[in-house]
């Protein structure tokens, strides 16, 4: 039964992605800033208002992922202190969030569409999205997968956020990179003091897919903090600075990453 439902969901991905693409295109056209664009913007606003009137029954919950370092928003290229002597700079942070759901007493009441999203610190728009919930239905938990499941990994060439053009698919060995974190710190002995963590692997014994479950209050905005400082201070960057294939170390690191997600109260 579960399998059947899963297959149906896969069938829906295409149409959802298409809708997403149309929305993006609409956004692009509107941002053109011409008179034509302004008329379109007005029309869209009116459209959204009427949509709001018709569908007053839907509650929109905004979800935002907030990568931070020592409590402040993480900025790529900025220097942060790793210890009292050493600094650290981050250059890339990208990861997949899949199958995000809001739950009430462990029963799903709302789900993110599309099923997989690529979150990229370089593009703030990717860190925020919304989920529609029935206003009468409460929820007290948010749950998601960190990465791409084995079925999606084995489904061939996919579109949208799963398109391999995003640099989150290994070329030399099949599989998605679930989490990519790159940066520099003087203590790292690699060339140019670079550290690279490309964490993936969907097959036993090195399956690095992680599930995150967090208690939430039923509010209209959920902010999930991703405390990168908590991750890098648990690592010995003198010894561990390059993990770029499915292996035991990658699996262990995925476990650590799972622990840095918290809901901002």
């Amino acid at each position: 039964m579960a399998d059947v439902v899963h297959k149906e969901k896969i069938g829906q991905v295409g149409s959802v992605l298409l809708t997403h693409k149309r929305l993006l295109e609409a956004r692009r056209r509107i941002s053109a800033g011409t008179l034509h664009g302004q008329v379109q913007r007005l029309l869209l606003l009116l459209g959204l208002m009427s949509y709001g009137l018709v569908t007053a029954q839907t509650r929109t919950v905004h979800i935002r992922f907030a990568p931070t370092y020592a409590g402040v928003p993480l900025a790529l290229g900025a220097h942060y202190s790793l210890s009292s002597q050493d600094s650290v700079v981050f250059e890339t942070l990208r990861f997949y969030v899949s199958e995000l759901q809001l739950l009430h007493d462990n029963k799903a009441v709302a789900a993110m569409a599309p099923r997989h999203r690529l979150l990229d610190v370089e593009d703030a728009a990717t860190l925020t999205f919304s989920v529609a919930v029935d206003p009468k239905t409460p929820f007290n938990k948010i749950a998601f997968q960190l990465g791409i499941d084995s079925m999606t990994n084995s489904a061939g060439a996919l579109a949208g956020d799963l398109d391999p053009i995003h640099g989150m698919y290994w070329a030399w060995q099949s599989g998605y990179i679930n989490w990519k974190l790159e940066g520099r710190t003087p203590i790292c002995p690699a060339r140019n003091h670079v550290f690279q963590f490309h964490i993936g692997g969907y097959q036993a014994p090195y399956n690095s897919l992680q599930r995150v479950e967090l208690a939430v209050r039923a509010s209209d905005e959920i902010v999930i903090q991703v405390a990168i400082d908590r991750l890098v201070t648990q690592l010995d960057l003198k010894a561990t600075y390059e993990i770029m294939r499915p292996c035991q170390k990658a699996k262990e690191l995925a476990g650590l990453i799972q622990g840095i997600f918290t809901v901002v109260p």
């Binding site: 061939g156 060439a157 391999p164 053009i165 698919y169």
Partner: protein, 346 residues
Amino acid sequence: MTLKQTQLVLWALLSLLGVSGGLPLLERPAYFPAPAYDFRANALTKDKVELGRVLFYDPILSADNTISCASCHSPYNAFAHTDHDLSHGIADLIGTRNAPALFNLAWQPIFMWDGAIHHLDMQALAPISHPREMGEEIGHVVQKLQAKSLYPPLFQAAFQDSHVTGQHVLQALAQFQLTLVSCHAKYDSVKLRQARFTPQEAKGYALFKQNCNVCHREPLFSTYQFANNGLPIDTTLDDLGRYQVTQKPADSLLFKIPSLRNISFTYPYMHDGRFKKLYQVLNHYTSGIASSPTLSRELQHPIVLSAVEKTDLIAFLLTLNDKAFVFDPKHQFPKKILNPSEGFEK
């Protein structure tokens, strides 16, 4: 159901079967097993196959626009690369393995000598990205294709979307390669009772079934599993094969078993192209096996073949050559579309 809906359902069913214009895009002999490729997610259409063929022959896929897929996978060599033991990429860079022949890929569950790639759609990413092969990046390939006036209409025709995506590039390349079906060798005619083996070929066939068929299983002439066939390790390469993917000691020195179809066209042989001649391959199996902990069970005891038997076996192996496949114009350079005089737009 309205007429339009009925037409739509019929069209969907036909595309599932890979039927277009009455002729199947995928040849499927009755004596072949069920394909491993899942056509539901990427049903063959004439326009997608044609786009795939153009991409396969266009060097735009490489970093300096000099190397196409066909550079190392030539149709006249059953899509292998004659005279090159190891793959030959951009700027005369040499890789670490022999470019394998491409045919009957719909029946292969896993790709590359070490099985690193698990889906045909994703296979092209490996040579495109390899610094010693095409040295490119799929995102940049997409940009180059979008900018070359030839492509947006081809993508429009194939995918009803002129916007080039990585997904569509990979699916089109897979579609063309799926149509590379080799099933018109003399062996196939014998199988269909349209021809007979000569007495020598028949003797060779009996020897084949006795000594080779466990790994090079008919009718595809491979199980597409992995095996250590007793090649002494080449210390200039130190290639441990499947182990490099799985990290399991039991997979050390295992390589994917290649098909024996089109054997005359696909030399040199083995993952590192170490043998130029077929008789060298047979001599390896009769007297060259190097023992190691992962040596294939079938090769623990040497294969014994007299000189006459070797000749008979080779006579049978030559019945696996499929000239109709090798010279099939529908698999060759798309002259009409990919005119060599067309310049590359930077």
